[in-house]
């Protein structure tokens, strides 16, 4: 079991300074830092096991295949998929969602059908459905938010109908940090015979995921937001659904027999993994999951919540600062705020001058910002290596903003 209180030292990046100050990394909703174990797994793969997978007869190819497929098993266990074959590797969460829109959507969506998305969605879980609906002359419906910025479940129930084919929803908003009640949402969709795709990018590294208990049909996420390498995405799909779907990209490695004028495709999930995949990063991803397991997702969830509450209290003590969510809502890990008279880009630049990395802008959720009636937001987001000291540094940066912009706190 790893202890959280001195975990920072397992992440080499925290040895460096930014603008002469120790790095305080509060941009975890964008991507997370990597522990030494993940970095060395990547280096070990290239130093010791590098070869192409699946068809090689030689030892290296077998080792590489073994490592690639072992991660599939580890991911399946991590999210409690029934079998590893329900796990498809992609490049990122966006590609995972596109895969479903382009294959399942291509097969099952027609004129007049309806797809429901939520107002919280990242562009990754909105644009693919916009495009699909435009191509198929289907209708895109949006679940609105309540005044507390939670999903309006009463409105959702009214949107559901016998025309609903798919509901696409985030497990946690990357802007507001709120977590919809997925179980309830999925149950209601299934009662109407609609499928549900969950964008788990923000939640999967922060709290337990159990795809069987959720009963979601698809669950998409990225490795890099959970200590893993960039360039690896995951799509979980129920086996019988994946089996029924046509291939996404076609070419090498996803075929059984290729004749001159036609081809036969491999079984699931390899049918969806055309060409040489990101073997080394997939192999190293396993170390990230093992690291999370050693810390324990329950500890991470509790730690996130404590930090979030401390940061919320720190920000809320300043009348100039407006936090966009209340501490009574489902928000955690992600904390969006604005300062009257200071644009979020200026906030982020001044935070950076104190070594504190935060995000500013629209966070790939432009329609959500329109609904919130703010041109942009600043966002702190926390993870297992953050400390209360990090929040003190953020407070110091905040005071500096007041000073530079001559604002009375």
């Amino acid at each position: 079991m790893k202890r959280l209180d001195d975990i920072k030292k397992e992440f080499p990046i925290f040895e460096r300074t930014i603008n002469g100050k120790p790095l305080v990394y509060l941009d975890n909703a964008s991507t997370t830092q990597k522990p030494r174990g993940v970095i060395s797994a990547l280096s070990d793969f290239y130093s010791l096991h590098n070869a192409n997978i699946h068809r090689g007869i030689h030892a290296l190819s077998e080792e590489a295949t073994e490592r690639y497929e072992q991660t599939r098993k580890t991911v399946a266990r991590f999210i409690n998929a029934e079998v590893p074959e329900e796990i498809v590797f992609t490049r990122n969460c966006t590609e995972s969602i596109n895969l479903v829109a382009r294959t399942w959507g291509e097969m099952h969506i027609g004129r007049g059908d309806e797809i429901i998305v939520s107002a919280l969605e990242h562009h990754a879980n909105l644009v693919p459905w916009q495009v699909l609906c435009m191509q198929k002359k289907a209708k895109l419906l949006v679940i609105p938010l309540t005044s507390e910025h939670e999903l309006d479940m009463a409105a959702y129930e009214k949107l559901l109908s016998k025309k609903t084919r798919m509901v696409c929803v985030t497990a946690q908003s990357n802007v507001l940090g709120v977590c919809p009640d997925l179980k309830d949402l999925i149950k209601k969709a299934h009662a109407r015979k609609a499928l549900v795709l969950v964008d788990g990018a923000q939640s999967v590294g922060h709290r337990r995921t159990n795809v069987q208990a959720l009963d979601c049909d698809f669950f998409a996420f990225s490795a890099h937001k959970m200590l893993g390498p960039t360039g690896v995405g995951v799509l979980f799909g129920k086996y019988e659904l994946l089996e029924d779907m046509p291939p996404f990209l076609v070419g090498g490695d996803m075929v059984t027999t290729v004749e001159q004028y036609r081809s036969f495709y491999r079984e699931v999930p390899w049918r969806f993994e055309a060409g040489t995949p990101n073997i080394a990063d997939v192999a190293a991803f396993r170390s990230a999951i093992e690291f999370l397991d050693e810390v324990g997702l329950d500890s991470i969830e509790a730690h996130d919540r404590e930090l979030w509450q401390a940061a919320f209290t720190m920000l809320a003590a300043n009348p100039r600062v407006r936090v966009l969510v209340s501490d009574a809502c489902s928000a955690t890990s992600v904390l969006p705020f604005v300062i009257e008279g200071v644009h979020p880009h200026d906030i982020a630049t001044i935070f950076d001058s104190e070594g504190v990395a935060i995000r500013s802008g629209l966070h790939c959720a432009e329609p959500l910002h329109r609904r919130l009636c703010v041109p942009a937001t600043a966002r702190m987001s926390f993870y297992l290596y953050n400390t209360f000291q990090d929040i003190e540094m953020a407070e110091k940066a905040l005071k500096k903003i007041f000073k530079i912009f001559s604002l009375t706190p």
């Binding site: 200071v342 644009h343 979020p344 880009h345 200026d346 630049t349 629209l362 910002h369 041109p375």
Partner: protein, 125 residues
């Protein structure tokens, strides 16, 4: 934090050439979709093909708004030819700092609007 100089903050809080022109010869609105900054610029051009007047409205960060204010001062009386040849370096020298790559689009927003407004006029004989 050298970028937030007193000059920059003064231009941000009290922008020069704020507003619109009644009869602009050229107009452009530029929007930075990454952060929601906007600048709308009106320009009046003299018979000698120089900038007779300039006015802007906008919303956004200190860099984009103060940058546009400084650029307005700088552009007054300049020829169209001089204006379309301005670059990011012009903005850096006006702001008195080298802008980081992440903030480049903020600093250059006004410059993009001015050049966009003038490009058609500049190409006229």
């Amino acid at each position: 934090m050298d970028i937030y100089s007193e000059t920059l903050l003064d231009h941000y809080n009290h922008p020069h050439h704020a507003g619109t022109l009644k009869r602009p010869d050229a107009r452009s609105v530029k929007h930075n979709p990454l952060c929601g900054d906007t600048v709308s610029v009106d320009i009046a051009v003299t018979k000698q093909r120089t900038i007779g007047d300039i006015a802007f409205t906008g919303m956004g960060c200190a860099l984009s708004q103060a940058g546009m204010s400084l650029l307005s001062d700088h552009s007054m009386g300049k020829t169209l030819d001089e204006c379309v040849k301005m670059t990011s370096d012009t903005m850096d020298s006006l702001l008195g700092a080298r802008v980081s790559p992440g903030r480049r689009s903020c600093a250059d927003l006004g410059l993009t609007a001015v050049k966009d407004a003038l490009i058609d006029l500049h190409q006229l004989p």
